[in-house]
C-alpha cells in the first residue's frame, strides 16, 4: 500500500442502482439463483407475486421433485442441504420398463443402480414444501438479498446502463441486470418482446403422492404406458410420488373422480408390488406442453428455468435443467463482476446463453422424442423400444452414461454443480 496516495473515494458504481440483479419470480429457480448470487457478493432483489405466507406453507400438498446429484451438490454448496437432508429420500435404483394396464413391467427393462457409479445415489426425492421453506429461511438470513413478496411486476424498461422494473404498487426498482424466472408464461420475456415456440401434446400429467403398505427400498420406477409414462418416485417413509400422463380427455375425467375411484384407476397401472395404497396429499394435473423462448437473453435480461424452456416433465428434468441455468448464470455474472466487467453487457449475457443453449436444445428434443416414442401402443414400436431398453441394459458403459446423465453429471459443468463454490 502506498500511503502517500490518499485513498480517494471512488464511486461504487452499482450504488446508483437499487440492486445489481433483480430477479422476477420467487419460485425455486429464482430463489436458488438469488442465494447463489448474494453469496458471491452481488446485491440481489427478488420480486415474487406470491407472499411469504403462501411460499412458506408447510402443509404437504403432494408436489415433489427428483433432484439430480449435481443439483443436490449445488444445494449443499449453498448451505441448504443440512436443512433438507432429513426430508430427502435417496434414489438408489431406477427401473425403467414398458407397462400396460393390468400387467406388470415387460420382460425387457432397464435397471440403473447407483452402485454402478462411484458418485453415490443418483438423486434425491424432495418435497416442494421443504425446499420452499428452506429457501425462504436462507434468503431472509443472507446479507445483500432482499425479497419483495405479494406484488407483481407491471412494466420494465432498459436503459444503456441498467434496467428498471415497475411494481403494481408503483414502486420502481433499478438494477444492472434483470432475470426472468417467472415460468413458462413469463411476463418478463413477453415485455421484452421475446417470442416463444412450442406445442401441446394433447396429454395431461396427473400428479399425486401415495402412502403404501410395503417399503419402496429407495427404488424409482418409470413405466411407459400406452397413454404416456408413469413414474413412481420414492419419498421418505412408506410414501411415493406418482406422476402419470393420460390423454387430455381421460385426464379431465380422472381428475374429477372421487378419491376412491381415482385410486381404482391408478392401482392396475402399476400392480400391487407396493401393497395397499392411499392418497397422501392433494391431486394435481398439468397439461403437457413444450414452450421454448426463442432466446435466453435480451437487453440487460436473462431468462432461467421454465421462462426459458418449459419442457415436458417426462424425465423429471424440469427443475434440474432450471438449476443448471442457475449455476451457469451465477458463475457467468460472478466471473464477469470479478474481472470488472459490466455484468449486464451483452457480451457477458451471451456467455450464459452459449453455455446453456446446447443443453437446452438437447433436452427439449430428447423429451419430445422420448414422449412420441413411448406414448404409443403400436406393437412394432413397442417391440423396438423394449429391445432398445434391453440393449441399453445389456451394455454397462451405456447404462453408466445414462445414470450420469440422469444424475446431471455430464457436460461442461458449472462449479456449483460440481459442489464447488464460485
Amino acid at each position: 500500500m502506498h500511503m502517500d496516495n490518499p485513498r480517494r473515494p471512488t464511486i461504487l458504481p452499482d450504488m446508483t442502482f437499487d440492486a445489481d440483479i433483480v430477479i422476477v419470480g420467487g419460485g425455486l429457480n429464482g430463489s436458488v439463483l438469488a442465494l447463489a448470487l448474494a453469496q458471491s457478493g452481488h446485491r440481489v432483489t427478488v420480486i415474487d407475486a406470491l407472499t411469504e405466507t403462501i411460499r412458506g406453507s408447510d402443509a404437504f400438498d403432494g408436489r415433489s421433485y427428483a433432484l439430480a446429484l449435481g443439483a443436490q451438490r449445488m444445494l449443499a454448496t449453498l448451505g441448504l442441504w443440512p436443512d433438507l437432508a432429513a426430508d430427502a429420500q435417496p434414489m438408489l435404483e431406477i427401473k425403467v420398463g414398458d407397462g400396460r394396464v393390468g400387467t406388470g413391467p415387460s420382460a425387457f427393462f432397464m435397471h440403473f443402480d447407483h452402485a454402478e457409479i462411484e458418485e453415490g445415489p443418483m438423486g434425491h426425492m424432495i418435497e416442494d414444501r421443504h425446499l420452499r421453506r428452506a429457501l425462504l429461511r436462507h434468503m431472509a438470513e443472507t446479507p445483500g438479498l432482499s425479497r419483495i413478496g405479494g406484488t407483481a411486476v407491471v412494466d420494465q424498461k432498459v436503459t444503456p446502463s441498467g434496467a428498471t422494473v415497475t411494481l403494481a404498487d408503483g414502486r420502481e426498482i433499478t438494477a444492472r441486470v434483470l432475470v426472468g424466472s417467472d415460468g413458462r408464461d413469463s411476463g418478463t420475456a413477453r415485455r421484452a418482446g421475446i417470442r416463444r415456440i412450442g406445442w401441446r401434446y394433447g396429454q395431461t400429467a396427473l400428479v399425486c403422492a401415495i402412502e403404501h403398505a410395503l417399503p419402496h427400498g429407495g427404488v424409482a420406477h418409470q413405466f411407459f404406458m400406452p397413454a404416456g409414462p408413469l413414474a413412481i418416485l420414492p419419498l421418505t417413509g412408506n410414501r411415493s410420488s406418482i406422476v402419470w400422463s393420460e390423454t387430455d380427455a381421460a385426464a379431465r375425467r380422472i381428475a374429477r373422480l372421487p378419491e376412491a375411484d381415482y385410486l381404482e384407476v391408478l392401482r392396475p397401472r402399476f400392480g400391487d408390488f407396493l401393497g395397499d395404497i392411499a392418497l397422501a396429499g392433494k391431486r394435481f394435473s398439468y397439461p403437457l406442453e413444450l414452450s421454448l423462448a426463442r432466446t435466453m437473453i435480451g437487453d440487460r435480461l436473462a431468462l432461467i428455468g421454465d421462462a426459458a424452456h418449459g419442457v415436458h416433465p417426462i424425465a423429471g428434468q424440469g427443475l434440474n435443467a432450471g438449476l443448471r441455468d442457475v449455476a451457469a448464470l451465477a458463475q457467468t455474472l460472478t466471473e464477469a463482476a470479478r474481472r470488472g466487467e459490466d455484468i449486464g453487457a451483452v457480451q457477458v449475457l451471451e456467455r450464459y446463453q452459449q453455455w446453456r443453449r446446447f443443453d437446452v436444445a438437447t433436452l427439449a428434443l430428447a423429451t419430445d422424442t422420448f414422449n412420441r416414442l413411448f406414448s404409443n401402443d403400436n406393437p412394432l414400436l413397442r417391440l423396438g423400444r423394449d429391445m432398445g431398453m434391453g440393449a441399453v441394459n445389456a451394455m454397462p458403459w451405456l447404462r453408466r452414461g445414462f445414470i450420469r446423465e440422469a444424475a446431471g453429471l455430464t457436460g461442461d459443468l458449472p462449479l456449483l454443480l460440481q459442489g464447488r463454490q464460485i
Binding site: 496516495n5 471512488t10 464511486i11 458504481p13 446508483t16 466487467e341
Partner: protein, 248 residues
C-alpha cells in the same frame, strides 16, 4: 470528484455518444478487442491481486490503487479497473477518443480521469502509479526503449507494469496481418506493421533495459472452435502479455 462532462461541448455529445456506442459494440468495429477483453482482464486482475495482495472476491478489491491505462481508447480496460475500485487515469494520444471514453464512463456512473496525453508527457509531469497498463501499444510506438523508460518512470517503486504485444514470426504474420486484417477484416489494413512486432525475449530485454524486472509472460491463444481466447503458459507465438516490476 472530477466532472469531465462539463468540459464537453454539448453539441458534440451526440457524436461522441455514437462513437462510444461503436467502441462498446461487441459485434462492431472493435469486436476483436471485445473478444480478447475477458482474457486480458483475467490476466491483469490476477496479476494486480497477486502483487498487491488483494482478494478479487471482495467488493472494490482495487480500492486505493492508482492505475494508468495507456492507449485507453473507449475505456475497455479503464472501466473495469474503476469498477473494481481503482483510481484510474486513462491516457490516449488520439484526442478524439477522450470525450468518447468520458461520455461512456459517465453513462456507466464511473469516475475516470481521461486525458489526451502520452506516457512521456505524464512521466515528465512526474505523475506516478501503482500499476501501468500498456496493452497493445508498444508495437505502434516509434521508439520502444524510450517509451518503456517512460513507463518505468511512471511507476512507484514496487509498481506493476503489464505489457502485451504481438510476437514476430511467420505465424504471427499469418494470424495478425493476413488473418485479422485481410481475411477476417477484424482490423483495418495497415493497423500493424509486422517489422514492429517484438519477440518475448526481445521484450524482456527491452524491459530490463528500461530498468524493469520481468516476472511473468503468458500467451493469448485464440480457439476458433469456441471462438474465444484463453491464457497459455506455453504458446506465446502470436499475442502475448508480460508482467514486470519496478524494483522497490
Amino acid at each position: 470528484m472530477q466532472t469531465h462532462q462539463n468540459t464537453v461541448d454539448p453539441g458534440e455529445i451526440a457524436k461522441f455518444e455514437a462513437m462510444a456506442t461503436e467502441w462498446w459494440d461487441p459485434k462492431g468495429k472493435f469486436k476483436p478487442l471485445h473478444m480478447l477483453n475477458p482474457c486480458r482482464l483475467d490476466y491483469i486482475t490476477n496479476q494486480i491481486a497477486g502483487e498487491f495482495d488483494r482478494d478479487l472476491k471482495t467488493a472494490a478489491p482495487f480500492a486505493g490503487l492508482r492505475i494508468l491505462d495507456i492507449g485507453c481508447g473507449g475505456g475497455l480496460l479503464a472501466e473495469p479497473m474503476a469498477r473494481l475500485g481503482a483510481d484510474v487515469v486513462g491516457a490516449d494520444a488520439a484526442e478524439r477518443n477522450i470525450p468518447v471514453a468520458r461520455v461512456h464512463a459517465d453513462r456507466s456512473g464511473l469516475a475516470i480521469d481521461y486525458r489526451h496525453t502520452t506516457a512521456e508527457a505524464l512521466a515528465t509531469a512526474s505523475e506516478t502509479f501503482d500499476v501501468v497498463l500498456n496493452m497493445e501499444v508498444v508495437e505502434h510506438v516509434a521508439d520502444p526503449p524510450a517509451y518503456l523508460s517512460a513507463c518505468h518512470d511512471l511507476l512507484r517503486p514496487g509498481g506493476l507494469h503489464i505489457c502485451s504485444t504481438i510476437n514476430r514470426n511467420p505465424k504471427s504474420y499469418a494470424m495478425a496481418i493476413v488473418g485479422a486484417e485481410q481475411v477476417m477484416r477484424w482490423l483495418p489494413r495497415g493497423t500493424h506493421e509486422w517489422s514492429k512486432f517484438i519477440t518475448p525475449d526481445e521484450l524482456f530485454e527491452l524491459l530490463r533495459g528500461a530498468g524493469l524486472d520481468p516476472v511473468d509472460r503468458k500467451g493469448f491463444v485464440f480457439n476458433p472452435l469456441t471462438w474465444s481466447w484463453r491464457l497459455s503458459s506455453r504458446d506465446l507465438s502470436v499475442n502475448y502479455v508480460t508482467a514486470s516490476l519496478r524494483p522497490a
